[in-house]
Assembly symmetry: C2
Homo-oligomer: 181 residues x 2
DNA sequence: GCGTATATGTTCATTACCGTACAAAAACTT
DNA sequence: AAGTTTTTGTACGGTAATGAACATATACGC
C-alpha cells in the first residue's frame, strides 16, 4: 500500500481512538475526526465511506492484532500445538485484548459496542470452529459453537468493566463453565 | 503552507532529532533521515538541498522558539518592558533554551555545533544590538557587541554540559561578569 | 589495486492529498 | 413550523509525495 495512504489511515485511527477517550461514538462527528487527524475532508471520504465503515476498519485492525498467531512459536514447538492447548490460545488472545483494552473499552461503552460485538463474534467463530471438531458430544456442534462464541464474547465484555483480573484469571473462569478444556 | 509539506517537514525534524540521540551529525546519512522519517527520497530533496541545509532549518526552528516574545506580555505591561529589563529577557531566553536542550546538546556535541554557534550568534547580535544603544561607554559599541554575543553563546555552550544550574543561576553568572545590568 | 556495497543527487510519470465550493440533510433555535 | 447552523457527502483543478530508475561518488574488504 502507498506510504501516504498508510500514514493517513493511521492518522485517522489514532484520531478516532483519541476522540473515543473523551466522547461517545454517536457524539463524534466526521468533522471531529477530520480535524483531529489533521487531514482534508475529501481525503477522509476517499478512505472511509462513513463513520461506521471506519469503526469496522478499526475493529478489523484490532482483531488482526488480537487473533495474530506468533508464527515463530508455531514453528518452534508445533507438536505441542497440535495437541489440545485451546486454553493456551485463549489466554494468548486475552493478553492481546488487554493490550488493546484502551480502545475496546471506549468502543464498548456506547452504541458502537454492538458492532464491535458482532465483528468480534464473527472472528471468534473461526477460532472455535476447528476446536469443536475434536470433541464428541450429543449436543449439535452448531449449538455448541454459538454457545462458546457468545459465552466468550460476553466474558470479554464483562472483563472490560472489571479489569482487576488477569488474562489467566479470565481464562480460568471461562473454562470452568465449559464442558471441555 | 500546505498541510502535507508541514507534516513532512515535521517528520524530518523529528527523525533528525531522534537520530541525533544515538548518532553524531557526521555519522547520520541522508538515507538514515529518509528511513527514520519514513518518506520518499525525492521528497526529502524537495525540502532540503543537503544535510547542512536541514541542520540550518532545524536551528532556525529552534531559534524561532527560543527568541519568541510573548506578545501578550508585551501588551499587558509594556511600560516595564521599555525599562532596563534585559536581565529578564535573557532569563526568558534561557528558559526556552532549556526546553530545547535535548536537541541542542546533541547538536553541540559534534561538528554540527560550530554551525549552531554561528547561527546562534547571528540571532544574539540582534538581541544585544538594541540594548547596547542605551549604554554609554568609552569602548566601541562594535567591540562590546561582539564581546557580549560571544560571551553569552559560550555561556550557553558551557551550560549545556553542566545542566545542574537553573536559568536564573546562569543569568546571574552572565551578568556578574558584564559591565551593565 | 579492484570489485562491491552504500550513499548521494536528479529526473519523471503516477497517485494521493489538498482546499474550496457546493448542495442536501440533519440538528438545533426561536 | 420556519429559519439558522451544523454536518454530511460529492466534485474537481492544483499540488506535493511517491517510487523507481539512473548516474555518480564515496567507503570498505580482499
Amino acid at each position: 500500500m502507498d506510504r501516504r495512504q498508510q500514514k493517513t489511515r493511521q492518522a485517522v485511527f489514532d484520531a478516532f481512538a483519541r476522540l473515543l477517550e473523551r466522547k461517545s461514538y454517536t457524539n463524534i462527528t466526521v468533522q471531529d475526526i477530520i480535524d483531529e487527524a489533521n487531514i482534508g475532508r475529501s481525503t477522509f471520504y476517499s478512505h472511509f465511506e462513513t463513520k461506521d465503515e471506519l469503526l469496522k476498519a478499526l475493529c478489523s485492525e484490532i482483531f488482526d492484532h488480537v487473533f495474530a498467531e506468533e508464527v515463530s512459536k508455531e514453528k518452534t514447538h508445533d507438536f505441542s500445538k497440535t495437541g489440545n492447548n485451546i486454553k493456551a490460545e485463549i489466554t494468548h488472545i486475552l493478553y492481546h485484548l488487554m493490550e488493546s483494552s484502551r480502545y475496546i473499552k471506549r468502543i464498548l461503552s456506547c452504541e458502537s459496542g454492538e458492532m464491535f460485538m458482532r465483528y468480534f463474534k464473527e472472528r471468534l467463530t473461526q477460532v472455535f470452529e476447528g476446536e469443536l471438531e475434536k470433541h464428541e458430544s450429543d449436543i449439535p456442534k452448531e449449538y455448541m459453537l454459538n454457545h462458546m462464541v457468545c459465552d466468550f464474547a460476553e466474558t470479554v465484555r464483562w472483563w472490560m468493566n472489571n479489569d482487576s483480573y488477569s488474562p489467566e484469571d479470565i481464562s480460568e473462569f471461562f473454562f470452568s463453565t465449559t464442558p471441555f478444556k
